[in-house]
Amino acid sequence: MKNKVALTGNEAVAQAMRQINPDVVAAYPITPSTEVVQMFSSFVANGKVDTEFVTVESEHSAMSATMGASAAGARAMTCTSSQGLAYMFEVVYIAASMRLPIVFPVANRALSGPINIHCDHSDAMGIKQAGVIQLFSENAQEAYDNMIQAIRIAEHPDVQLPVSVNYDGFITSHALDVLEILDDETVKNFIGVYKPREALLNVNEPVSMGSFDMYDYYFEHKYQQVAAMEAAKRVIEEVGKEYAKISGRNYGLVDAYKLDDADMAVVVMNSAAGSSKGVCDELRAKGLKVGVLKPRAFRPFPHEAIADALKGVKAVAVLDRAETFSTLGGPMFADVRNSLYDLKNDIKVVNYVYGLGGRDLRLEDVEQIYSDLDDIIKTGKVDNFVRYLGLRE
């Protein structure tokens, strides 16, 4: 049974967590993800979940306690944003290396400084090398759907990695949206009973976790993480297909929108993908061959699917809601351009850094990008391949 409801992104995520009914949640307040924690604590207070809720004194401890719980053999979650994720940074790496299947929503928000509470992706991009799976969500529906699927992905025997579910702070987290949520029983059956392969609380098989690894073993253990990430690409697609059966909604590694015959494509994640699709539709109505590519998984990076989806286009604009200060553009730009290199198709790729600190991406901005791509195709030249959309110059 499916229910159509009006929920904010945070409410949708909190509902998903209620349905997942984790054994332990350890979390700390931060704007804009705090609401999830507040709502969840009311589920705990009212007996709607079986969860032991740990009100930690920091995000560092939030992830640390979640790791302890997960290592103990519990299904454990946390939730954060921005500085909170930055503060967790150290232990996010360790959670990944310990192969703990922790699912944690991240309502994306700019990083200080200067301090800013609004949306961009610099928090998520800060942990792109941590070894956690990162799923991105266009709207509240996707945030909800990704949460449910994340459990299955994280706990899959071939994966066993943390999964962060990203959705845009305020734009998605606080805006009311209409979405479908599954009934509790369907979710319960879909995620199944958690059976950890090892657990600190298993009296029959005590285990030492977090051992000291020297140069004779460290490299191999790091490669195990690479292999798990590789496997995750397959598992994300498999779980997506299975999820389609209970939800009617399809999920893969990427969402290729009107790309089959497109000459121009915009590559963009999270809520801005929705705006881009709207502009794409309008331009299509005018006869322009435009499309949108929305990576759903950013880590692992689905480079094969991206190259496949973009192989026929002539020009691509990659939209990054984060800076790298490398002077070589945003984080996704580097990965997308890299993915296209071996096609040898002379696809022109241009980068737009946009929306930092919550600045709106207007529809006119997206139209301008397509118009720029049109110019690039006509002239065959990309001058200034890193551009700052809407920056006052």
Partner: protein
């Protein structure tokens, strides 16, 4: 391909895990599924002096057992039994805490010489 999450061969002893193994053969995440298997790692060769037990003097108070940092005093039935020379690092604490002066620290070189002398006699 995924690494075996519980290395099959590790069930016997840690010696089954070795640096020539590839990433698939090693345990997941560096987990160790054999509690206390450090006992198969010998730290006895760190020793330059060794504790030697004087049975006559020993009053079996086990204060040496209490203060050994390396759990290298073996006791049976609540009595001193022997030193675990595989792990004893020769710190000398046991000899110092012994109220009956029943433990003497002797240089390993000296013991080596004595052994050789014995061999020569034979």
């Amino acid at each position: 391909m995924t690494p075996s999450d519980k290395n099959l061969s590790q069930c016997c002893s840690s010696k089954c895990i070795s640096p020539d193994m590839n990433w698939k053969e090693l345990t997941k995440a560096g987990n160790i599924y054999t509690p206390g298997n450090a006992s198969t790692y010998e730290t006895g060769d760190w020793r330059t002096i060794r504790p030697v037990w004087d049975e006559e003097r020993c009053i079996h108070c086990l204060i040496c057992w209490r203060y050994c940092p390396d759990a290298s005093i073996i006791s049976t039935g609540g009595k001193f039994d022997s030193f675990d020379y595989k792990h004893c690092k020769g710190c000398g604490i046991c000899a110092n805490v012994c109220p009956a002066h029943a433990i003497e620290m002797i240089s390993e070189d000296e013991i080596e010489k004595q052994k050789e002398a014995q061999k020569d006699e034979e």
